[in-house]
């Protein structure tokens, strides 16, 4: 399956057939730091993603400030 990452935007291929939380763990991404987007929807960490899925992991942190 294809995973879209941001800042900078890039795409990687990972194995599907497992839950979102397992994909995040394999990529060493803390679940609270991203939205998981599939198509026009958000999906929760317990959902299973398939090999032909495309998901975007969109960071939620906005930075800077004093």
């Amino acid at each position: 399956m294809k995973v879209i990452l941001r800042n900078p935007r890039r795409e990687i291929e990972v194995a599907g057939g497992r839950r979102v939380k397992d994909v995040l763990r394999a990529l060493d991404i803390v679940p609270e730091t991203v939205l998981v987007i599939r198509g026009d929807d958000l999906i929760t960490a317990d959902q299973v993603v398939r090999d032909d899925d495309v998901i975007e992991l969109r960071p939620v942190m906005s930075g800077g400030g004093a």
């Binding site: 929807d41 939620v60 930075g63």
Partner: protein, 300 residues
């Protein structure tokens, strides 16, 4: 995972609330949190004009979206920081949003006001980039609101922003900053408008989800100067804590606001004067903004 309210498939889990929601129920949860913030701190009424500081990012546009939906009298304020393509794109997001919703947007250039854009301010002063930028933004938000007769400025600061700021202040025991950290700062001088943060009850993941589900077109890129900012390091540390202990950030911030802040407030009273140069409010003789502008003029 099922929605806590209706039992339909959930789109978002909120571990700190031990809950998950479908899209419509999450949006209602979000609006309720904003309503509660406005009510609890009496931030503003529907009769008052509210200046909403917008950056083109998810938080400030989500805030503006909720306030428009709730029939508040809002005007957007975009401060053009002059940060290359980032500013060009973020300004376009704000203009598109304002046009689509039929709401007024004021655009003010930091370069016109200070004498140089943020990248030059950063290079001619020894301040970290976020410091001169933040100072200029707070000054200009207040000045624009005063000039336009608006009694209150609303910003998109969320729970993560507030928890990270508090963490930084506590690490250094900044006795001047701690009493000022609040979701609502009253006007303590005729030339200071109120400042409020109606999103302080919502995490940045929740504001991102709201913006996504409402199809708000916000800027995804980060400010190029934010990389390496101390506030981001503090957010990452708190994020790791939150991961193993959901609710940690909420308890840290809300515990401070409810239990500790009143004590710091009593200890931190300051006298306010008008700046000898520009007439805005300062605790000294010449305000920090005028000093910054002088420094920029000398060296830019």
């Amino acid at each position: 995972m099922k929605c806590r309210k209706c039992g339909e498939a959930a789109v978002l889990e909120l571990r700190r609330h031990n809950a998950a929601f479908c899209a419509p129920d999450f949006l209602e949860f979000f609006r309720n949190q904003v309503r509660e913030a406005i009510r609890k701190y009496r931030m503003f009424t529907r009769d008052e004009p509210v200046l909403v500081a917008v950056s083109g990012g998810k938080d400030s546009l989500a805030l503006w979206d909720v306030l428009i939906d709730e029939d508040y009298r809002t005007t957007g304020l975009y401060l053009d920081l002059g940060i290359y393509d980032y500013s060009v794109e973020s300004k376009a997001k704000c203009e598109t949003f304002a046009a689509a919703h039929g709401v007024p947007l004021i655009v003010v250039s930091v370069a016109d006001a200070v004498g140089a854009p943020v990248p030059i301010i950063q290079s001619v002063t020894r301040r970290p980039p976020c410091s001169g930028c933040g100072l200029s933004k707070r000054y200009l938000m207040n000045r624009v609101a005063l000039e336009r007769g608006m009694p209150v400025v609303a910003t998109g600061h969320n729970l993560d922003d507030e928890a990270a700021t508090l963490f930084g202040s506590v690490l250094h025991w900044q006795m001047d900053a701690l009493p000022r950290q609040s979701p609502a700062l009253p006007s303590t001088h005729a030339k200071l408008v109120r400042r409020v943060k109606p999103l302080y009850r919502l995490s940045e993941r929740e504001t991102a989800a709201y913006a996504f589900l409402r199809r708000i077109d916000y800027i995804l890129e980060e400010c190029p100067f934010a990389k390496g900012a101390t506030s981001i390091t503090h957010k990452e540390i708190l994020g790791r804590l939150e991961d193993v202990s959901p609710g940690a950030k909420h308890n840290f911030l809300f515990g401070f606001l409810e239990k500790a802040r009143p004590a710091f407030e009593r200890a931190g009273a300051v006298t306010l004067n008008e700046c000898a140069r520009c007439g805005q409010v300062t605790s000294g003789t010449v305000c920090a903004f005028c000093k910054l502008a002088d420094q920029v003029k000398r060296r830019a």
